[in-house]
Amino acid sequence: MITFTNSGLYCAAGDFYIDPWKPVTRAVITHAHSDHARFGSRYYLCEHATVPLLKIRLGQDINVQGISYYESIYFNGVKVSLHPAGHIIGSAQIRIEKDGEVWVVSGDYKLENDGLSAPFEPVKCHTFITESTFGLPIYRWAPQDQLFAGIGQWIDDNRQSAKASVLLAYSLGKAQRVMQHLQHKTEKFLVHGAIANTQEALVQSGWKLPPIEHITPETPKSAFPNSIIIAPPSADVSWMKKFSPYALGICSGWMTVRGNMRRQNADAGFALSDHADWPGLLSAVKATGAQKVYVTHGFSSVFARYLNEQGIPAEEVVTAYGEEENGNIVNN
C-alpha cells in the first residue's frame, strides 16, 4: 500500500505522499518539524493544530487543509485518518485503509502525556511504519515529573548565585512543554525570537500558554539575573553573552549519554525527549498488533533486528527524516 520512493513514502492507490522530502502534488503531514514538513508541495493535509505551524514554517500562502483527529478523508477510495502521536502539538500518526488492509505511519511519537499535545494512542494495523530515533536500550526516560523537579532544582541552584538559567529546547514542541511544566517557577519566561514566533502562532489559534517576553537588543540587562531563558539548540553562545552570569542546560534525549553532554559545553543536561524511549518503542509496536514493521530514522537497523528476533518481521527503511534533530544537536 505504501512504497518507499526517492521523494518519500508514497501511497499509489490514493496518489499521495506522507512527509515527502521532495516537492509533490499531495502531501499528508504528520507534524510541523522541518524534517517532516518540507517546502514546495502543491497541497498539504494535516491535523488542525498543525495548520498555523505549517504556515509560519513554509509560508502563509501554502495550500493546506486541516482535519481533526479520527476524521476520515478519502483519496481514490483510500481512507486516510489522523491519530494522536503525542510528539508535539498537532502531531499525528497517519492511518491508511483500503480493502480492509490497514497501514499506520507513526511520524515521531512519544508515549508519555506531555500535557499539551493530544496523548499517543496505539492504532491497530497490519503494517506499522515506526521511527526509531532512540532505538537502543540505553535510552530509558525518567518520568517527566522527576525530570522537571531536577530542572527546577537546577534553576534554584542557579538563583543562589543570581545566575540566569538558559534552557535549550526545540522551538516547536519541547520549548512549550518545558514552559508548561516550569510555569510555577517564574512570572514570565524570556525567550529567543524563534520561540516567540511559534508562541505567537499558537496563541493566535487559541492555545493558552505561559507568559513570555521576547528578548531583543533593547531588553535591559537587569531583566536577566534569576530569569529563565528558553532558546532553540541553534542559539549562539555569543547571543547569550549578555545574560552573564548564566548557566546553560540542554533538554534532549541525547543527554542520556555523558559524552554527548560534555561535548556541548553545557552546565547541565536533562534527558527530556519528545520521542519514544526503548521500552516505549517496543510497547508501541506491540500495541499495534502489526504483522510487519518498517523502521525509519534513528537506530533503524538495530531496532529492526531486535524486532525480528522477537518474532515481529521488521525491515529497515532509509528516509530523510531525523536530520533536524541530529543536525541540531551537533551544530549548536
Binding site: 549519554v257 559524552g259 531486535y306 551537533v330
Partner: protein, 530 residues
C-alpha cells in the same frame, strides 16, 4: 558513594576550572577521611589492582538485562564507555544502600583472591543497591581510569588550598609510592616533614612547545640546547642503597630495565637524575619502535635485552648528596651532572649532549638535522633557571621539527569514546598502490569539533558496509596525515608503521587521484632508516 558520584558529575560536566576546583575543595573539606585518600589516589592515576575484568562485567550485565550480546555491543559502541553502558542498561536498583567510597574500594580489592561466583554475587548485589550515577562511578572504579578532566595540577591546587600548603611543595608530598588503604592524606603531608619514603621522585618539570622564533628568547648565550629524545622521560633515584626508576606517568618501572641495576652500586647515595629512557646501541639511540618491545612486558627475554638494550640519557640532576638542589641554576646542576656521569662511568648512563651554538640561525640549521640524530627536535633550557614543578612557561621550551605529511583517503570509520560518544571520530586512512587502496594509518585527532560534526554526518550518509562497529565509507575524502616517524613493520598490511599519526587538515580541495602512494611511503622509509 553518593557524594563521590556527585563530585564526578560536577567535575565531568563543568568546563570551568574554578568550578572544578571549588567542587574538589568542598569535597576535601567535607568527605570522610578515608574517602578523600581514595579520591586523591584515583585522580592522580593510582589505579587499584583490577579484580574483576571487563568481560565478566559485560556477561553479568547481559544476564541481568536479558539483552542479546549484539545489542549490548551496539549500545557500547554508541556510548563509547563500558562502565557507562552497563550503568544505563541495568534495571533500576531494587535494594538501595548507602555506603562510602572506601567501603566499595576495599570490598573490590578483597575480591582479588575470590572465586568467580563470589565476584559475580558481589557485583550484582552492588548494582542492585546503587543508582545510575553511582553505578557509573562504581563501574569506572572497576575498569579503572577516571579521565574526567581533573589534571594533576588541579588536584594539587585543590589540596594546596584546603591545607594551605604551597602547590610546589604539595605536589612533591603526594608523588611516589603510597597505598590508599594505609596512608591518609594527613599522613602523606606529615610524612614529608619526617622524610620517609626513599623511593619518592620529584615532580617533573615539563616544557611548552616553542611557537615563536628563538630570537625572541633573548641572547643565545643564556640558553642551553639539547636534542629532544623520543623515549620515556624518567627519573633514576639512588637512596639508602636502593635504586628506583620512575616514569613520567609516576609509575615505578625499576624491574622493567635490568640494565640499570649496576647503577645501584655505581651511583652514590642521595642522587636523583632526570633524563630519557632510550634503546641505545653504538652510541646512538634506536628508533622508538624498539623501545615499544620493552614496554608493557612483565618479563624481559634475553633476546629483547640484546635487540633492544636500554640506556639512560641524563640531562638533569635534582638531588645531590641527599640534598634537593632544584633551586640551583641549570648551569650549576649541569656541571655537577657531568662530573657525576664521568665518575660513575657506566655504559648505560650517558649524558644527553649539549648542542653547541653561538647564534640562533646556527641552531635553526642544526635543528633540521634532528632526525639524523634519531631525535624529534631541540630542547631549549635557560641556564640561570631552577628546576620547576609541572608544565611552566618561560625557562624550558621544546622546539620540534616539522612532522612528515602525506595525503591519504579515508577508508573506514568507527565511533569514538568519551565526549566523542556516538560520533564517528576514529578513522583509518589509505594510500594508493596501483589500483588498490592500502590502509596504513589510524588517526583520531586533529580535527575541530565542527569538522568532526561534518565528517560524522557525511559518514552516516555515505557508509557502504558495516562490520560490527566499523563502517566502510566511499573512498573520496582526502586528509593530510602528519606523523613523527616511520618504520618497517611486518604486523601491518602496508609494511610500515607510523609514529604518532594524526590529521593535519581536511583536504577538501584534493581529489583521491592525487593522494600519495605506497611507493612514496617506502621511499620515506628508505631515507630515514635508523
Amino acid at each position: 558513594m553518593q557524594q563521590f558520584a556527585k563530585l564526578v558529575q560536577v567535575i565531568s560536566n563543568s568546563t570551568k576550572t574554578n568550578e572544578k576546583l571549588s567542587a574538589l575543595s568542598e569535597y576535601f573539606a567535607t568527605a570522610p577521611a578515608r574517602d578523600k585518600t581514595w579520591v586523591l589516589a584515583l585522580f592522580t592515576g593510582r589505579r587499584p589492582k583490577r579484580t574483576v575484568n571487563t568481560t565478566q562485567l559485560k556477561n553479568w550485565c547481559i544476564q541481568e538485562t536479558g539483552l542479546p550480546e549484539w545489542l549490548f555491543d551496539e549500545s557500547y559502541h554508541t556510548v563509547g564507555d563500558l562502565g557507562e553502558t552497563i550503568a544505563l542498561l541495568l534495571p533500576p536498583p531494587t535494594d538501595r544502600k548507602a555506603a562510602p567510597l572506601h567501603y566499595w574500594m576495599e570490598q573490590l580489592l578483597q575480591l582479588d583472591k575470590a572465586d568467580e561466583t563470589t565476584k559475580e554475587k558481589f557485583i550484582k548485589s552492588a548494582w542492585s543497591s546503587l543508582d545510575e550515577s553511582e553505578r557509573f562511578v562504581f563501574n569506572k572504579l572497576i575498569t579503572g581510569g577516571f579521565r574526567i578532566g581533573v589534571s594533576q595540577k588541579m588536584m594539587v591546587n585543590a589540596l594546596a588550598k584546603t591545607w594551605d600548603i604551597p602547590p610546589a611543595t604539595l605536589s612533591h608530598m603526594i608523588i611516589g609510592n603510597w597505598d590508599p588503604r594505609e596512608a591518609t592524606i594527613e599522613d602523606l603531608l606529615h610524612l614529608h616533614t619526617t622524610g620517609a619514603d626513599a623511593s619518592r621522585p620529584y615532580p617533573f618539570y615539563l616544557a611548552y612547545p616553542l611557537e615563536t622564533p628563538p630570537e625572541e628568547l633573548g641572547p643565545p648565550e643564556e640558553w642551553q640546547a639539547e636534542w629532544k629524545w623520543d623515549g620515556i622521560r624518567g627519573q633514576i633515584i639512588k637512596r639508602e642503597g636502593q635504586l628506583f626508576v620512575w616514569s613520567r606517568g609516576e609509575e615505578l618501572i625499576t624491574e622493567k630495565f635490568p640494565e640499570y641495576q649496576p647503577l645501584a652500586t655505581a651511583l652514590p647515595d642521595g642522587v636523583v637524575l632526570d633524563g630519557e629512557i632510550l634503546t641505545y646501541a653504538n652510541n646512538t639511540p634506536l628508533p622508538f619502535q624498539t623501545l615499544q618491545t620493552r614496554i608493557g612486558r612483565k618479563t624481559i627475554t634475553r633476546k629483547q635485552l640484546q635487540e633492544a638494550p636500554v640506556a639512560f640519557l641524563a640531562y638533569d640532576l635534582l638531588e645531590w648528596e641527599a640534598a634537593d638542589i632544584r633551586d640551583y641554576p641549570l648551569s650549576r646542576r649541569r656541571a655537577l651532572l657531568e662530573a657525576l656521569v664521568q665518575q660513575v662511568h657506566q655504559p648505560m648512563l650517558q649524558l644527553s649532549p649539549v648542542i653547541s651554538f653561538t647564534e640562533w640561525p646556527q641552531l635553526t640549521a642544526l635543528r633540521e638535522e634532528a632526525r639524523a640524530h634519531v631525535s624529534e627536535g631541540v630542547m631549549l633550557k635557560k641556564l640561570s633557571a631552577p628546576y620547576q614543578v609541572g608544565r611552566k612557561r618561560g625557562d624550558w621550551w621544546k622546539w620540534k621539527i616539522d612532522p612528515f605529511t602525506v595525503d591519504a583517503v579515508m577508508l573506514y570509520a568507527q565511533k569514538g569514546h568519551g565526549r566523542r560518544s556516538n560520533l564517528y571520530t576514529d578513522y583509518t586512512f589509505a594510500v594508493r598502490d596501483g589500483d588498490n587502496l592500502v590502509p596504513f594509518a589510524k588517526a583520531y585527532s586533529g580535527l575541530t569539533d565542527k569538522e568532526i560534526a561534518e565528517v560524522d554526518s557525511w559518514i552516516k550518509r555515505h557508509s557502504l558496509e558495516k562490520f560490527g562497529p566499523v563502517r566502510t565509507v566511499e573512498p573520496v575524502q582526502v586528509f593530510e596525515i602528519a606523523f613523527e616517524g616511520i618504520a618497517a613493520s611486518n604486523r601491518h598490511k602496508s609494511g610500515i608503521a607510523l609514529r604518532f599519526p594524526r590529521i593535519a587538515r581536511w583536504r577538501k580541495d584534493k581529489p583521491v587521484s592525487e593522494i600519495n602512494t605506497l611507493d612514496d611511503l617506502k621511499r620515506l622509509l628508505e631515507m630515514h632508516k635508523g
